[in-house]
């Protein structure tokens, strides 16, 4: 769950709209990475994680088209890392935590943003909320 922890840390430290968008994009990517690793290592499909991964991709895409997103990642992913292993329950819990943080930061950013940035933040926050709902059964 190192990816998720790092993403959550960046998200927590981000200040200003571009930084929040950048960290949110990385956080969604981290969710995709962790779920993908789980699917690769177990060879099974867990429905809530599968659906959560789709919402993570949708959330990342929403942020991707925000005008204020920096063109290059502030924290580029490190080259070839080992796949992370974890149980479905552990991954669900960690992902739910990050998604709750994502929803909160993006909702807050939306209140400060305008135009297309605001729309992107709203959309991304909605997808983060859906991830949390899929993995916990309730909304944050």
């Amino acid at each position: 769950m190192r990816h998720l922890a790092t993403a959550a840390e960046h998200l927590g430290q981000a200040r200003g709209l571009p930084a929040v968008l950048d960290a949110a994009c990385d956080a969604f990517e981290a969710i995709l990475q962790v779920i993908g690793d789980y699917e690769d290592t177990t060879g099974t499909v867990c429905a809530p994680l599968l659906l959560a991964a789709t919402q993570a991709a949708n959330g990342r895409d929403a942020v991707l088209f925000a005008p204020s997103l920096p063109p290059r990642a502030r924290h580029p992913p490190r080259a070839t890392q080992e796949q992370e292993r974890g149980s479905a329950a552990g991954i669900s819990a960690a992902t739910a935590g990050v998604s709750r943080l994502l929803a909160a930061r993006l909702t807050h950013a939306a209140a400060l943003a305008a135009g297309a940035d605001q729309g992107a933040c709203h959309d991304a926050a909605r997808h983060a909320t859906q991830i949390h709902g899929l993995l916990t059964g309730h909304r944050p």
Binding site: C25, D26, E29, L32, G36, E39, T44, V45, C46, A47, P48, L50, L51, A53, T54, A56, A57, N58, R60, D61, A62, L64, F65, L69, P71, R72, A73, P76, P77, A88, D123, G133, L134, L135, G137
Partner: protein
């Protein structure tokens, strides 16, 4: 299967219109003029149906058999016979039929009007599968249209029409030759009506002759009857169904909805803003789940089949379960690939993708024991037991139908989604986040058109999903046939449209299917038997001798038909009915459906060049 009207409903109504009804006068009575008028409508509709099969629903390119082939020949002869029948009914001075006609009082005329209504409505139903096409032609407008324009279904349709025509001819000739008491008789009108009925016998005989050489599989007639109206069934309410039959109905309806929506989505142009990564992802993830549920259900059904009296289906169901598992895996890889890309428009979910989600939900409910199961339920939710899925062995075909419908819908969706992705790629609408690219790429914006090394494998994954989803339908289709499940028509439709398999269809007996499961109708009494009965004779031995004489006269006329002089040296067919006795003998010979007997009436060359006008309804 989904509460929509099917073509078979109207075929049944057509058959019922000619069947005896308790407490009502027999259909073989009526006023000659009224009956002729009503018969003209029926003949018009038969001609239109037959013409439909000759032109493959006009405007659609197809490969029709050459006229020398049995069915091509039969079709040409059948159309000639209907033209001759119409010509008999529209002799000079009789006027043209008006539409709608005045209400009929005669029993047979009323029944023929019912028949005409059933035939016209059935034809309207078939036409719902077509839309105006380029150049004034017609374009396919449903997943059933391709099967409907196939030669095999045309033959099935002609076989049904021939069976109806034969019954109509029999009843019509009774009116023509046995006037009711107090009914004024116009000999010319009677001869004309009888002549029209004789040509209907020729029509039926032409088709029966082709069926003897190239039989119509029973499965094709089943498919024809099952063709639904091309409408979107109503969405099942999630709060409704909880028991197995209700869940199966919901799966079937949702699968039909998905097939309908996915098929129509294929017309969406690749530049449409409605084509979004959001839809592609949702379709892929939910198809992964639906295929997984079909795999679970296939395994459970295989365990159930043997104890439900369908041991032959067991192997196919097990194979279907394995194939569905492979389909689930290929769909998952497609979904996984879609995480790496995006499109220029997002957010909008297509109706097909929304329905795919519903199908995953319903199939999940059917497969799992927990009545509160949801898409968010974890992987450790226990599936039903075989007995929990099929508590009553009689329900097995229904559950098989549900799984079969779901698998077919996913197979169709795989094709349309692959088509969408392909179109989006060609329109350069598939993008990739540059953050995920290696540092070799120096792109100063967060997304760029997806490179070939990304799109090629993605298309490959969709091709795999398409292939695996199609394979998943094969086993379940075989099981549907083995268990007599209603969804076996889907397998027939797939077989017809792909023509890729060499399944051995169930051949028919050469006789028209009759309502109530009867295969044979008793031979109608011949002229001698009718004469004896008219005299009040009830002695079985005498009636048997009469029947022998009738059969001998039938045989004599059929043999004589082989030795007739050339057409140019024969009297016109219309003169054959000058006396009621001759007409009755001819009718009896023609009623055998023997194509040789039809030679007695074949038109002369002069008649063939100047066919009678086809009656057209007038507003």
């Amino acid at each position: 299967m989904t509460g929509r009207p099917a073509f078979g409903d109207f075929l049944t109504a057509a058959r019922d219109s000619l069947a005896p009804r308790p407490g009502q006068p027999p259909p073989g009575r009526g006023d000659v003029e009224e009956v002729s008028r009503s018969l003209a409508r029926v003949v018009t509709l038969l001609a239109r149906y037959t013409q439909d099969t000759a032109t493959a629903f006009l405007g659609i390119p197809r490969r029709a058999p050459p006229p020398s082939a049995p069915w091509g020949r039969a079709r040409a002869q059948a159309l000639q016979a209907l033209a001759s029948s119409a010509a008999c009914l529209h002799r000079p001075g009789t006027g043209r039929p008006v539409w709608p006609g005045p209400p009929s009082a005669s029993p047979l005329a009323r029944r023929l009007d019912e028949l005409a209504t059933a035939l016209a409505t059935g034809r309207d139903l078939l036409y719902t599968h077509f839309a105006p096409g380029p150049g004034g032609g017609r374009a396919h407008d449903s997943p059933w249209a391709l099967a409907l324009t196939s030669e095999r279904l045309h033959r099935a349709l002609l076989a049904e029409l021939a069976a109806l025509a034969q019954q109509v001819a029999r009843h019509g000739a009774n009116v023509a030759l046995a006037p009711g008491p107090g009914v004024p008789a116009d000999p010319g009108q009677r001869r004309a009506l009888n002549g029209a009925c004789q040509w209907l016998h020729v029509y039926a005989a032409s088709i029966h002759a082709a069926r003897r050489q190239q039989p119509v599989p029973a499965a094709d007639r089943d498919l024809l009857a099952a063709l639904p109206a091309n409408t979107l069934p109503a969405r099942p309410a999630r709060t409704g169904a909880q028991d197995i039959p209700g869940l199966c109905d919901a799966v079937i309806t949702t699968a039909e909805r998905l097939r309908h929506l996915a098929w129509h989505s294929a017309h969406q142009p690749p530049w449409s803003p409605g084509l979004t990564i959001t839809s592609l992802r949702q379709a892929a993830e939910t198809s992964t789940l639906t295929s997984h549920h079909c795999a679970l259900l296939g395994g459970l059904l295989a365990d159930t089949a043997a104890r439900s009296g369908h041991p032959a289906a067991r192997k196919d169901l097990a194979a279907a379960g394995r194939a569905a598992r492979r389909a689930s895996s290929t769909w998952y890889h497609a979904a996984r690939g879609l995480r790496e890309v995006t499109t220029d428009t997002r957010g909008q979910v297509s109706p097909a993708a929304a329905e795919a989600r519903d199908l995953a939900w319903w199939t999940g409910r059917l497969a799992h024991a927990d009545p509160a199961w949801a898409l968010t339920s974890g992987p450790h939710t226990p599936p039903r037991t075989p007995h929990g899925l099929v508590p009553d062995p009689g329900h097995l075909p229904h559950v098989i139908t549900a799984v079969h419908q779901a698998a077919e819908a996913i197979a169709l969706l795989a094709g349309t989604e692959h088509h969408h992705l392909h179109g989006a790629l060609h329109a350069h609408r598939i993008l990739v986040p540059t953050r995920t690219l290696s540092s070799d790429y120096d792109i100063p914006r967060p997304y760029s058109p997806a490179p070939e090394q990304c799109t090629g494998p993605l298309l490959g994954r969709y091709q795999n999903a398409r292939k695996a989803s199609r394979q998943a339908t094969t086993g379940i289709g075989r099981a549907a046939h083995a268990a007599g499940a209603p969804s076996r028509v889907l397998a027939t439709a797939r077989e017809i449209t792909t023509a890729a398999r060499s399944a051995t269809p169930v051949m028919d007996t050469g006789h028209p299917a009759l309502p109530g499961g009867r295969e044979h109708e008793p031979d109608p009494p011949g002229p001698m038997q009718q004469a004896l009965r008219g005299l009040g004779v009830t002695d079985a031995a005498l009636l048997a001798r009469g029947a022998d004489l009738d059969r001998a006269s039938q045989r004599l006329l059929i043999d004589a038909a082989d030795q007739l002089p050339p057409a140019s040296h024969r009297p016109p067919a219309t003169t054959l009915n000058r006396t009621a006795a001759t007409a009755a003998l001819l009718n009896h010979a023609l009623a055998t459906g023997n194509p040789q007997a039809a030679q007695l009436l074949r038109p002369t060359e002069a008649q063939r060049e100047q066919p009678g006008p086809e009656p057209e309804p007038q507003a």
